[in-house]
């Protein structure tokens, strides 16, 4: 029983989706980084050449993950977590600072972004903690511990600072909800986001007045016996405080470049040659794609290098420009299929540990996918997060590969678990 071949139980659909995305990703990187002179596909001096190496190196990585005993992830989760935290903390000693951010280790020609791996470690520890039968997320102490597991690496990442990576961890709240966190946490979070956006869009006084009207209406529409004036008052004060603090934070705490990103999103006096340039060029690239795009390697925005960082965070603009709406639909379709497949697999896990971990994988991948694409089409402020399997970079490709394949291994191994 124990030595039943892993390959028999492996979920080939996930593997196929993974391969398709990596191949499509490489083709897109090739187009986005193709210089104007003749070069070889395997030229490792070129970005697309390096990406081929990264892809090739991920194959032994996958082999190792699929071969080693799945139990080590459960067993050594805290060790991985500790390692991740040490790597994050070590950045402040040995990290490389680029444009005020210390996100990377750099050894010779090789760079490593520890926050990518911290996601995996956090997912493992969170799953380990939640899989303990004594843990109940209705319990406030257990809730605090769960939030602390997520919050610790987030705090270190915020200090780098790297808002994009930190934001990804927020998606783990969805995992907590799946495992029993009371719904009002999410509801409060959702309301806070809506209020936040409203406070930036219109005058705070207007938002507060609107909230007051809704609360008063709600108060008089509930039955007399259920009315709670004190609670209503507290909710109102909380909303007003939140809205005004958003305004305060925007005016006094946010750095200019952060304000710019929000202003760009809402079209508040934007200079298209300066702070608005990236988003404008990104929208032009995607928007000029039409139904079927300009054709592979024919994108004028891509060839002209108008979109900055096009092979990394802006890689999807090349998809939109060269493959058009139809191509973008296919890529989005790949992501959605993979995400739903992971959730489906997670739900059929027998162990709570692997189910929770599967949810972590789906949540993290979804958050990357969502933030990355919405920032390109002006639905979300510009925050640098890579598009999984598409964006250029060894760290991110390997981190996503490890993240995914640990789950593939767990899934394949589920028959051996008893």
């Amino acid at each position: 029983m124990k030595n039943q071949s892993v390959t028999n139980n492996i979920d080939w659909i996930t593997i196929l989706l993974y391969c398709l995305m990596v191949i499509a990703g490489w083709m897109t990187i090739y187009s986005a980084s193709l210089p104007n002179e003749e070069t070889s596909i395997f030229d490792i001096g070129q970005i697309y050449g390096k990406q081929i190496l990264f892809i090739i190196f991920s194959i032994p990585l996958i082999m190792v993950i699929l071969t080693v005993d799945a139990k080590i992830y459960d067993k050594y989760a805290f060790i991985f977590y500790g390692l991740g935290i040490v790597l994050l903390a070590g950045l402040f000693v040995a990290g490389k600072t680029i444009k005020g951010q210390t996100n990377w280790y750099s050894f010779g020609g090789f760079s490593l972004q520890p926050s990518e791996f911290a996601k995996i470690a956090t997912a493992l520890v969170l799953s380990k903690y939640l899989s303990d039968v004594q843990i109940n997320l209705k319990n406030i102490n257990h809730q605090l511990i769960a939030f602390a597991i997520i919050g610790f690496p987030v705090a270190l990442i915020m200090m780098q600072p790297d808002a994009g990576s930190a934001m990804i961890f927020a998606s783990l709240t969805l995992v907590l909800y799946r495992e029993g966190l009371p719904g009002w946490y999410l509801a409060t979070g959702a309301i806070a986001i809506i209020l936040f956006l409203l406070a930036l869009l219109v005058k705070p006084l207007f938002v507060v007045s609107l909230a007051l009207i809704i609360i008063i209406l709600q108060f008089f529409l509930t039955r007399r016996a259920h009315r709670n004036p004190i609670l209503s008052a507290i909710v109102f004060v909380a909303i007003a405080g939140f809205v005004y603090s958003v305004d305060f934070v925007y005016e006094n705490v946010l750095e200019d470049h952060q304000k710019d990103r929000i202003n760009v999103l809402f079209d508040k006096d934007v200079n298209q040659q300066a702070e608005g340039y990236n988003l404008n060029q990104s929208m032009i690239a995607i928007g000029s794609g039409g139904w079927f795009g300009k054709g592979y390697l024919e994108g004028t925005q891509t060839k002209g290098g108008f979109v900055p960082e096009q092979h990394t965070d802006y890689i999807f603009t090349t998809v939109g420009e060269e493959w058009g709406f139809v191509g973008a639909l296919v890529v989005i379709g790949l992501f959605v299929t993979l995400l739903l497949r992971i959730i489906y697999l997670a739900e059929r896990q027998k162990s709570k540990f692997s189910r929770t971990y599967g949810y972590c994988v789906a949540s993290i991948l979804f958050m990357h996918f969502f933030v990355n694409i919405t920032m390109l089409i002006k639905l979300f402020p510009t925050i640098g997060v890579p598009l999984p399997f598409f964006s250029y970079g060894g760290s991110s490709l390997w981190a996503f590969t490890i993240l995914l394949f640990i789950f593939v291994k767990m899934d394949a191994n589920k028959v051996n678990e008893w």
Binding site: N36, L174, Y177, R178, G180, G183, L186, Q281, M283, I284, A285, I286, G287, S288, G289, G290, W291, E298, T300, Q301, K303, G304, G305, F306, G320, E321, G324, F325, A328, L329, I332, V336, L339, L340, I343, E347, Y359, A362, S363, F366, F370, I373, T374, I377, L379
Partner: protein, 625 residues
Amino acid sequence: MRKSLLPIIIVAATVIIVARLFYLQILDDSYIKKSDNNAIKIQYDYPERGYIYDRNGKLLVANQPSYDIMVTPNEMAKDLDTLEICSLLNITKEYFIQRVEKARVYSPRLPSVFLPQLNKREFAAFQEKIRRFKGFDIVKRSLRDYQTPSGANVFGYIAQVNDPIIKKNPYYKSGDLIGKQGVEEMYEEILRGVKGVKYIQKDRFNREIGSFKEGIYDTIAVQGTDITLSIDKELQEYGERLMFEKRGGIVAIEPKTGEILALVTAPSYDPSILVGRERSKNYTRMYKDTIEMPLFDRGLLAEYPPGSPFKILTGLVGLQEEVIDVNTTFMCHHGFSYGRGAFMKCHGFGPHQLNNGIYNSCNAYFGNVFKLTIDKYPKPQYGVDAWSNHLKSFGLGDFLGYDLPPGRKGHIPTAKYYNRWYPNGGWRSSTIISNSIGQGEVSMTPIQLANMMATVANQGWYYTPHVIKKIGKSGKNIDKKFRTKHYTTIDKQHFQPVIDGLFDVYNYGTASHLKVEGIEICGKTGTAENFTKIGGVRTQLTDHSIFVAFAPRHDPKIAIAVFVENGYWGSRWAGPITSLMIEKYLKGEVTQKAREEWITTHGLRSEYDKVTSGQPFKINQSYKP
């Protein structure tokens, strides 16, 4: 719920993203344009504009190179020697700062015009040192080079296209040149050729990185085609000389072909002042000159009462309507009484038939003819409409359809017109008798008068007047409408007696002192009363001097109309000018040296100054130089 929340969020987020992509990529097509502007540079290859020649193959309009200095603000060196550029180009520091700022506003990355239209000398001086001025560049363009100081009204001019034109015709892009007015406008597409287009892929630093899609969309420029005009350069220039300090127009037509030999308006301007850096200054000055109106082509646009030359038509209509024959006689008692207490004055006396009616220009004779024509019909309405239809067959009262800006229609009244003025039928032939002698409600433009004389010379038909003679080398391709004869409603046999009368104008009549040695001219003087408003008061001005003619009598080669505003009477200014023009055209040489000397050195400035002086003045006075 706990199981389904994440899938629901994923699907909802996907729907939002797909909807947004659908909007950006499919519904909103502005990004396609932006992308093209961004990444594709369109480079135009402007072909040289076609040359314009006169009827004898003499070059009228050629091209000259002109050089624009362009500046690209982002490429300017920090340690640029501003002072040197300013002194080299003879511009002020303020101009320098202002232009660079303007260029920066347009685009810091793209070249803008810094100083337009340098001449060759300025260009050479700047070209030598241009390597030291980073960010500055020279672009060669082609401008018109006029080989004659005359004919500005015929040629028109070239200007940069404005926004309405760009919107209407996508061929034109900002900064392109287009012909305006005259033949430059009418034959724009022939003269300009087709510009070549090259699409070049750019990168975000605005550097060219090669041909866009290997040049599959590129097109090659098509050269502009030369055209030959029917204008006679010598005659045109001579006509403008004769109009020295006068206002008015001269139109000369070759009757056999309808080709316009000369189209003079005065005052005019040298076409070369609308080329180069002074262009807009000069244009504005002329545009604002509402007194002399140099941009107003009087040959086509000025509607004057035709005066006595109109009697030719009155006579022809009378003959055609058979209310008179050549022997019909009317008495003139220094005029005639055409109604109770109504008297039309005339300088003549005695019995008049058609022949001496014409050469004496007898008002009484033609008043009677007109009255008989109208009264032939049971109602004056029918009479007027019959009369009006004859006149319209001469191309009067409507656009002639020549290949120049359409000009004016002139006016030939109809019964409908008089019914509006006099409701309830309160009008008769006597009410409108002034029309018989070219006053009253009729008005004509000089080109209509000239065309009328061409029609008389042809004895009943005309070609639509035109200035085009040949397009390119062949000459077979000019508009068919200029090769179609228009016949009048007057039968051929009625023209000969009228032509004889016109010939006798030079033998016994009002132009007997204007004979030209060796040329038999048929002509008619004219004098037209006219009015203007000075300070809101209708004031009569000195009469216009009019003359129409064709020659030679037996083989007409030129038909001409001359109009001199406030020239007092026909044979005073317009008559001599006609004689000189005809001799110049037919002989190439003018023998009437004294007359030529006088006309080219004397004008009517003092007469015109009366109107603007603000002082009370007398009209119809003899000329005092």
